[in-house]
Amino acid sequence: MDFSFFGELLEEEREITPEVTEGYRNLWVAAEAADGTLPPSTLEAIGQAREIANQIGVYVWASLLGDGVEPLAQQLIAYGADRVLVADSPSLAEYQPEVYVKILADLVGQHRPEMLLMPATSLGNDLAPRLAQRLNTGLISHCLKLTLDMSERLLLGTCPALGGEVYHTFACPQARPQMATLEPGYFRIPSADPYRSGEVKRVDLDLGGVTGRLSWLEREASVELPPVPLSRAKIVVSAGRGMGDAEGFALVQRLAEVLGAALVGSRGAFDEGWIPEDRIVGVGGQFIAPDLYIACGLSGDIYHYFGVQSARCIVAINPDENAPIMKVAHMAVVGDARQVIPAMLNALGR
């Protein structure tokens, strides 16, 4: 018999160089504080870290950087951290990538965590890749799911590709810490236990001459986005006669604005004078293929449906449960669009 494959198997075993992974232990979360509270994304990361840590039998550490953030450390412990390293200084009031990377890289070098999780927020998306590059390790970004490969103590991160149509799973076998950012809203927020005990430790800041190169001029800036050409719009919102009057149509306009969507309508909406002729969707008008199509107050006969059938997801808001569009919609909302849209705007925080 040919046993040469044994050799290959052993070869593969040897590929994981023990010196790379040795001495790395515990699981870290780079926590974020925003406006004096811990945002849900950070709590989700803590919760996920706790679950993984319980499986492999290690501690959860959290790092917390900012100005006046120390009171929040106890909360991190309540949500599942065992030890919190706090860097609290007025010099950390504003986010500076170089400074944050320096502090976290020093802490990682000192304490050698096995895995490092961060929320995929504006800050996390900015900071995590830079930190990974500094630490010369791999980063699985925008994870929707984290699992473990127990045979090698590997963190497996599943993240979206092709605009979320496919999921890819990655691992980082050769470098430590294994880093991942967690997409907000995909992980469970753990319940707080105010009696949980843990240790809070202040970090001595040694920036070694690193200074930030950003100046934060204005927190509440606004941006005027250019109009999206209909053919390239990812989200399209459409109005039908069911919106009633110009006031009802204004609601649809507002929804499109908030979602950054293109605005179209049925032939009925054109007849009412709400939309120009080149924004009629359906046979004899435009054919579109957005990711999301929201039909507000239109019944959507077959001629209309032909124009939108390539949409990945159709949401219909209509009081009539038996309207044609409600039968083909992925999400059929039974209700008056004139009441549902304001509530949606509300839910979107606008």
Binding site: P97, A120, T121, S122, N125, D126, L127, P129, R130, A132, Q133, N136, G138, L139, S141, H142, A161, L162, G163, G164, E165, V166, Y167, H168, T169, P173, Q174, A175, E183, P184, G185, R213, L214, W216, R219, E220, A221, S222, V223, L225, P226, V228, P229, K234, I235, L292, R312, C313, A329, H330, M331, A332, V333, V334, G335, V340, A343, M344, A347, L348
Partner: protein
């Protein structure tokens, strides 16, 4: 001012059908395009170039020989020079390796004042190249930028920050990643399309040109398989408007169709 724009060529999503129920990806038409994020970066660079007398824009791209087309399109859009980074040793590149290669190319070009990249690519969408490149070159960084102006050795940017936007000024040299929705790209100029193939050269740089050891280019991440989100099942929402609206927004957010929380979303 020298601007370098690392661009990425991706498979045209219009030629791909993903069948979640069959768990398969069908490539109906194998055509390659410049990634929308990269195109926005090119647009942002070309706008800055038009505003001033002394500016050059250089497009670079890491990829196989076919990537040449993407670079020639960048030239046709208005870039001054383009370089293709291609070598058999580059084929397995993951993000950390790609960073090494791109950083080596920027150094060979003599550095840059501003590096512009897309926030996230349309295919893999990791959104890592910008900050990684900034770290590798020791540049400052601003990500997810919606408006950009350069004056007196600093860039004034408006970036997405949480649910809103913030105005941030950054010292050059810097890496800026741009949001595709804010920089709709121009069409290539007709005469420049002809020139892009007839007159201009796109040099190819490999390991030797960039002083890279093939052995130093080992990827850190390994691919562990592909899976598919569950197909969208038809769903009905009934009840009072407030709860229904909340449910719909939650469902849309979970399916990644809208992005109320800010941060990242693919284009």
């Amino acid at each position: 001012m020298r601007m370098v724009i690392p661009i990425k060529q991706i498979l045209d999503p219009a030629g791909i059908t993903v069948r979640r129920d069959k768990e398969r990806i069908f490539i109906n038409r194998e055509e390659y395009i410049i990634d929308p994020g990269s195109k926005a970066a090119l647009e942002a660079a070309l706008r800055l170039k038009e505003e001033r007398d002394q500016a050059e824009t250089i497009a670079i791209s890491l990829g196989p020989a076919r990537t040449d087309d993407a670079l020639r399109e960048a030239l046709a859009m208005g870039c001054d020079a383009a370089y293709l980074l291609s070598d058999p040793a580059f084929e397995e590149a993951d993000l950390s390796v790609a960073t090494l290669i791109l950083a080596a190319a920027v150094r060979k070009l003599g550095g840059a004042d501003l590096i512009l990249v897309g926030r996230q690519s349309g295919d893999t969408g990791a959104g890592q190249i910008g900050p990684r490149l900034a770290e590798a070159l020791g540049y400052a960084q601003v990500t997810d930028v919606y408006a950009l102006a350069v004056e007196n050795g600093a860039a004034r940017t408006t970036r997405r920050w949480g649910k809103g936007y913030a105005t941030v000024q950054v010292q050059l040299p810097a890496v800026v990643t741009v949001a595709p929705e804010a920089f709709p790209p121009r069409y290539p100029h007709g005469a420049r399309i002809m020139n892009a193939y007839r007159e201009w050269n796109v040099p190819v740089w490999g390991c030797a040109d960039l002083n890279l050891e093939p052995s130093s280019l080992t990827p850190l991440l390994t691919f562990r398989g592909e899976s598919f989100p569950p197909p969208l099942e038809p769903e009905r929402f009934r009840g009072n408007p407030t709860t229904v609206a909340q449910e719909v927004i939650t469902a849309l957010t979970l399916h990644k169709l809208i992005n109320p929380g800010g941060g990242s979303h693919g284009l």
